[in-house]
Amino acid sequence: MAHKVSKIAQISTLALIAGSLPMAFESPAHAEPTIGWSLGTYGAPGLIDMPTAEVNKDGELVASVYGYGKSGRGNFSFQIAPQLTAVLRVSNEDGLADDGGALRDRSFDLHWQVLSEEGMRPALAIGLRDLMGGGIHGSEYIVATKTLNPSLRGTVGLGWGRLGSEGSFGGGTRPVTDPTGGLNTEAWFRGPAAVFAGLAWQANDKLTLKAEYSSDAYEAETAAAGFDRKSSLNFGADYKINSMVKLSGYYLAGSEVGLQLTVALDPRHPPAPSGLEKAPLPVRPRPNPAADPDGWSGAWTADPTAQPAIQTAVADALRKDGQILDSMQLSADSVNVRVRNQIYAAPPQAIGHTARVLTRALPPSVETITVTQISNGMPTSSVTFRRSDLERLENTQAGEILAAAQIGEAETAGAYVPTEGLYPRLQFGLRPYAEFSTYEKDADLYADMGVQLSARYEIMPGLILSGAVNQKVFGNLDEQTKVSTSTVPHVRSDIAEYQKHGDLALQRLTLAWYGRPAENLYSRVTVGYLEQMYGGVSGEILWKPVDSRLALGGELNWVKQRDYDQRFEFLDYDTLSGHLSAYYDFGSGVTGSVDVGRYLAEDWGATFSVDRELANGWSVGAFATVTDMSSDEFGPGAFDKGVKLRIPLSWATGKPSLATFTPTIRPYVGDGGARVDVDGRLYESVRKTHMGALYQDWGRFWR
């Protein structure tokens, strides 16, 4: 007991003890994936050139740049599911092009951990490298990894293709693959196979040493570029610079030296602590009825100055919080406020702040509090609380107030009193932008940096005039030499022509009208210069009940192609495109969608998308569009596909913000499966305020 009481002695002297506790909150492991110690030169969990059966951390995004001799690779890996790793790669291989120059190529890998390590059983994974291109990296493997002691892991595997090129046995000849894209299934796990093996040793927290017996013969490199493969043994060392950055050095085949830099972004470990913000206003409990009989009886409603005074007080408090009180409906026992959240990425946090502000401003007789979220002028959902629950449950487990609240369809009618002086509302902003050329085989990368001036003028709720203009400051996009040779209408492949014009390029200038035509229905009509390449009219309708996992939508666009200089002129091409869409919320942040219809080049087909979002706003998604355009007409890659990312600014800074960084990465920009890129599509406008997303983010209600 004495030593415990001595803690008081520390208090009494205010002695400051630095240092934090070693903490481990992980729940007991059940079939947890086996997380990799190091990344190989192909950007997936591995030793050096050989893969391991490990995976990256769930949701992790890892960029790595690897070079040896005059060759290099840039790898992008995503852990799309706990067991599934995807890698996108661009490479520059010295001497391997047909003309003897550097071969610029891109490839795509999938790596699946079939079994995680458990007890005596090793982790087991299978993988496909370059599963579409038919390029020089094409290979498949089955691999097992076992933790031999806490700092040593051993790996043994069997490889085909490039990974079955040294010390191989059996299998006959490997079928030749079609290099123009599409899955090269005909070659998978075919041809000679070979065994590879290796060890990884975590020498200390910073340093991991690796050695492998390679089954990669480096045939093409030996023949074309004088690669000297003296040995099957490769050696490597990883040095962890900090939690995000690693530097690796390799000694390859007894003759070459390689270097790799790895940057890992783990959505669950933000660079800044989440929640650097103003503390919310606390709930103000009501006085007892004897202290405020008029307030409790509702007699205050007879005073005509009461409602305006309350509305002004609420609007002021919300404005200081970063929200806008759009309108309010107040009676003796209930209130319904329509609020625009301009700051919190998680709507429950905005709702929690609004509810607390209301407990401070409303007379005691008001027991029912309804907070309605407004998105693009449309009321999208309502959350109703009993005021006594807010008083009783303040700063308790977030699930308790959720259980006591009702989430439902937003009231679209009713006698709402608009807050004075909000409309017309003008917003403008200035921000930097960076634009990059699309990846082209055998072409350099070009880029522009500049500033974007944007403005948004909301004439009345839901009627919005908005635009954005880009001004290049420096860059070389105008030096691009690419000329589209597409044999179909150049609906996207002329992108370089557009990118050459960076002076006062009008990115968009539109008038949009959003509405709620009926219960569960949302509508949008947008007219004007819709995007960089198209102008016209776009109409959309969405059916989405607040508590429904399923949403259905339809979109119809008539568009005309804009002139390359992105001012006000048009080119000759115009077309009608449109889609029917189904969206489904699978829970745990996973949403899927299918869009069926006609695309910009008048090709018919469907787009399949899957997105995975964490409660902190990170999202990784993939999409693929298959249309009746032939793969020859489309060009390399055969069909349109890519990866979408969303990284919230609040994740990087810890401060509240709605701003996000949302790159879409396409391996190839072709003319097939292209859709017009309209701002403010309905599903994204309403999804975050509907039940699934509210539940996911609800932990922030009392924050």
Binding site: M1, K4, K7, I8, I11, S12, L14, L16, I17, A18, S20, L21, A24, G74, N75, F76, L88, V90, V263, R268, A272, P273, G275, E277, K278, A279, P280, L281, P282, V283, R284, P285, R319, Q323, E394, N395, Q397, A398, G399, P424, Q427, F428, G429, R431, P432, A434, F436, Y439, A447, N616, G617, L645, L649, G654, A659, F661, P663, I665, G699, R703
Partner: protein
């Protein structure tokens, strides 16, 4: 592509954006504030932090109502907190820069605005023992948002032991009460909280664990 992502990410994070809004809401900072950030000479010179005694006296003379002093052990930062709300046994205190500490019966119930905050805590059992100067065991649950933003409970089992009555002057204020220690274990955490509790059962001074990110807080009530 890796270059494009990293460069754009760096640009987006480093430069931020400037906005203006007639509705008066500018989450990204106003144009003026944005310009001020990049203009020279806008940084204020660092000054030495005042001593706890000076801080306590300044707080007592400038803030009305209940006031307390809180120190983060890990950083050594000491801040003044004034009460901004009272809901039953729960009191919400804010610092001048709008960070928040919430106490329930003197026990830490939540923190706000510091980052990696304690979202909520269930401490009824422990509070009963502590304020009644009685030894015993009780459950405690603290809740945090995990890396992906989901609320996670950290349940712990706590043993409360009673020490000696003491009288002590701290930051120029005399306190007398009974020492109470609380040792908690669970979910991989080992926590040692300590309290100086008055004869009436009020927590006067305490050292309490806020969480894995914030560490221990030393809280001293200056005026109840």
């Amino acid at each position: 592509m890796s270059r494009s992502l990293l460069a754009a990410l760096a640009a987006a994070v480093a430069l931020g954006a400037c906005t203006s809004d007639t509705a008066g809401v500018s989450p990204g900072g106003t144009l003026k504030a944005g310009l001020a950030r990049v203009m020279p000479g806008s940084r204020s010179a660092p000054t030495a932090p005042p001593s706890p005694e000076v801080l306590a006296q300044a707080a007592l003379s400038s803030v009305k109502g209940p006031v307390m002093l809180a120190t983060f052990e890990a950083s050594g930062a000491t801040m003044v907190f004034g009460m901004v709300g009272e809901n039953g046994a729960m009191r919400s205190y804010n610092s001048p820069d709008q960070r928040g500490i919430v106490l329930r019966n003197g026990l830490l119930a939540a923190t706000r605005g510091f980052g990696q905050d304690l979202m909520s805590a269930s401490t009824e059992g422990v509070a009963q023992l502590v304020t009644a100067h009685s030894a015993g065991t009780a459950e405690r649950v603290q809740r945090y948002l995990d890396g992906d933003g989901t609320e996670r409970p950290v349940p712990m089992r706590c043993t409360v032991t009673i020490g000696q009555p003491v009288s002590q002057t701290l930051s120029g204020i005399a306190y007398s009460g009974v020492q109470v220690a609380e040792h908690c274990e669970g979910s991989g955490a080992v926590v040692d909280n300590g309290y100086l509790v008055s004869a009436e059962g009020r927590v006067l001074v305490s050292r309490q664990w806020a969480g894995p990110g914030l560490g221990y807080l030393v809280i001293q009530s200056l005026r109840n």
